[in-house]
Subunit: 384 residues, 3 copies
């Protein structure tokens, strides 16, 4: 149960980003352009859109995106804006239509595949060349969509990056083996609980917090009880393939260490009694334990405000029979609250002259420096 | 009762303004400078200021303006600011003073004609040349004011444009005949009801909405019941002199088509059973029906917020005897709510990349393009 | 009891600052840099921090500053930010620790003298040169602190200006004699009442209001009853050493002129039955009357919002025996409300075109012009 040996890492303090990266609205706009509107963004749980005509409205970067279940059963994503005079098609967070998406302003009507199917006096409408207007060209603006792990990931870029490299690759790199994530069969799990947090902090503070465990001993008493090695401050994510082991007397990943549910069917001996944390940039955290999965999606709204939606996913056996998930939910819900409190305590001081050149990373936080380099690269790409 | 023949208009879709015209605070500032603070702005119903000493505080562009009934019975307008150290003279929306406007900070006192009439130790105050201070020069800053249709129109420009050309001309051009508006004797009507709407949308969206009827069939069931030709989407304002005819079974301009009141005395056969809509740029809508007039004033407060004050005006016969106006008020109140909902649904998406170059105008909306050209001209004047 | 003769002052109206000095956020930032973060800033009553480990969090310019009572009994000030990853050390407005200030995020721990005394795995932390980290270098960032009149004054400048010249000098210059202020023994008085005002006005409007008494006859009926010469509009602060005399039938500086308490022990015949007002730039007002002292501290938060904390200070005889201070508190509390109302009435019109070049100062306000010159000098220093 002891933590693995620390490799020969540099023990010197390393610098962080300067404070303006957390307070400058201009940098946040660059992040929206270069990151949230350019990369794959995990937008919705696919099962939230059960039947054809189900839709969900999601904010991705600065855009309102509609995710829609088509008549063919597939999910598609569109910008949530009518091509005529720009009204928002759907103002509700989610809902269900019968056959079409109709703009409530002038009744321009789009199929669930986005094509313009009707408009008042449509026959009389002509394009600049005098031809009938093209139903595709005047259809809804498409957004790239991929499903993985039971979630719909969308990308606003004209040419999306490789989903395999960027998303699946991030998980594989962390776990060291592409098959581990598959064994949890996350796509077939069900949402046992969802909690939404409104965090008054920059999204990067939330990522940095998740990436290190130097704070665990100080703010996470319940978590370190279950995962004793976290009390040593080692980041679970530092070591490829390493999962943090449950403590000796611990029976399950629950708020008091009491027994949870049966392990998920695919989970092997190696993963049993282990906790794995994975960061998928730019806005996803995946937490694997034997009997459930905790999945965080961040929606950065402004330089100092981020919505975090957290799903607790269980096997159908658990949810169908209405078994009590509150003991396992309570553990990570407390961790979330403790973490977000810390982030909210950090946001206001980012503007201090004492943080103009940032703070320092201790050795067990050094991998946050790699996140900072990645961020600076992304911002530089935009400036090129 | 059929709609008039559609003239030979271009059937191609036409472009609109790009989204930034509805979201950029800098453009809104230019509009305040070049439009609301430069043109005639309809500020208040004259009859709201009944007696000498009555005042009303109105926001015009970025200025607080006081409209005051003088001892000679005339209306005057002033900037609502003391010439001494700049305190706001009146902070209430309206009120009544006896003889003077006195600043509550240091008691500088102005006549209802704006002249400085008293100040503590005034005899000792000298101008830079050592002379007694000039009561006119240190009086309130005057704002041009004209009364027409029973409203006080003000202009913040140093050299106001011609009221006849800009305001009266706009009405005449629409109605095709200068005498039509006079026949409704709007100045002598009384306010039967006033409703104020706080609309989360740019003022131009409200104008564009009012200018076209392509949306009528979709969002105005009660209005199209009374005015069946509106269901065809033709803009009432497109055709010079054209009024929309009441439907065959319709007895009055009321929410259920039931009978209204007697036609106003001056209304002729030609105007009876007709609805006329007039846009007076930049912020007035006038709606004429045989037995009443609906008069909208917009007060743009920010790039995405506009106050609309709507008066329902009736003959003294109706208001004096306390006759029930709710059936006619209810019709256009619903139209207002339906329209402003549509505008509020459109505002948030103006920032989408899908609207960067705007949307499209269908043929029956083409005259909105003329409004856009006018706007661009106004903004260009400012940039010259 | 008559007011002193007016010296031969210029009687011409003088110009004020233009309106943008009260509305431009950029000018406010310059003021924070050149004034509030560069000059001595009166931050807290020393006695509010009674015992070792007591702390108070104060906003100075754009910084959160912690004032802490050390184990040696002395007060010290630090930026309220952890040197590790920038979390705010204390989020409560005030409190009490036992021995150390510990960051609640990762448990970096600082002595009450600011030195870093502990951190998880501290032994393993090295600086860039591979040495143990320096406890001073990684200690809290120190802020200069001086105590005077029972208050802690702090200065965020790297090289603070002379406290004697800037702070004590301002008081001496006004009173004409360095010993006068000492006779009130303000440091040994106790806080009988504290009232905090949240004022929707620029801090300079509050200073200008305090500096002149031209408004007294208009808005301060209770004050002019007690100090009749104020009804003549002469600024108490205009004449070096001059105190305003109590009216003939007035027994004390109370809301109804009734008797107050015994004069403070050091107060001489010359100061008895007198009121002295002193402005210590940039944010302090001191009001001396025979039996108590009223001490205002301003905390400018934004270009149009200022917190004012006002202490009523009495001798221990008064506070220890719980004597009723409400009659004397009520007088200046009303004055405060009357003044801040006037300032809030002035703020909104500062953006008017009528105030683009400012307003005018009457002769008895001319010394405000000196304040404006001082301000412009400060801002110019920053631009150099």
């Amino acid at each position: 149960m002891a933590a693995p040996e620390i490799p020969d890492i540099e023990s010197a303090l390393m610098p962080t980003l300067g404070g303006r990266y957390y307070t400058d609205p201009g940098i946040f706009v660059s992040e929206q352009e270069q990151i949230f509107e350019s990369m794959w963004f995990c937008a919705a749980r696919s099962s939230d859109l059960a039947n054809p005509g189900a839709f969900k409205k999601v904010t991705v970067g600065r855009e309102s995106v509609l995710i829609v279940r088509g008549r063919d059963g597939g999910l598609r994503a569109f910008l949530n804006i009518c091509r005529h005079r720009g009204a928002m098609l759907c103002t509700e967070d989610s809902g269900q239509v019968r056959r079409n998406l109709q703009c409530p302003y002038h009744a321009w009507t789009y199929g669930l595949d986005g094509r313009l199917v009707a408009a008042p006096n449509m026959a009389a409408l002509k394009d600049a060349a005098g031809r009938d207007i093209d139903r595709q060209e005047y259809g809804l603006v498409s957004v790239a969509l991929r499903e993985w792990l039971g979630y719909a990931w969308v990308c606003l870029a004209d040419t999306p990056p490789s989903f395999g490299n960027e998303v699946i690759g991030a998980v594989t790199e962390r776990l060291g083996d592409a098959s581990v994530i598959d064994r949890y069969e996350i796509g077939s799990l069900e949402v046992g609980r969802r909690i939404t947090y409104d965090v008054a902090a920059n999204w990067k503070l939330i990522i940095e917090n998740f990436m290190e465990c130097y704070h665990c001993a100080t703010i996470h008493p319940e978590l370190t009880e279950v995962l004793p090695e976290f009390a040593d401050g080692l980041a679970a994510q530092y070591f490829v393939g390493h999962g943090a082991a449950f403590g000796d007397g611990v029976d399950g990943f629950t708020v008091d260490g009491g027994a949870g549910f049966d392990a998920l069917p695919g989970v092997t001996e190696a993963e049993d009694r282990k906790y794995y944390a994975i960061t998928v940039r730019p806005q996803i955290f995946i937490n694997l334990v034997p009997d459930h999965v905790i999945f965080h999606r961040m929606y950065p709204l402004s330089v100092d405000r981020t919505i975090v939606e957290c799903d607790w996913l269980y096997s159908r056996d658990v949810t169908e029979f209405g078994r009590d998930v509150s003991h396992s939910v309570e553990l990570f819900h407390r961790v979330n609250q403790q973490d977000f409190d810390a982030c909210e305590r950090t946001q206001p001081t980012m503007s201090s002259k004492a943080y103009r050149n940032g703070g320092v990373l201790v050795p067990s936080e050094h991998h946050i420096g790699e996140f900072h380099s990645w961020l600076l690269d992304k911002l530089t790409e935009g400036a090129r």
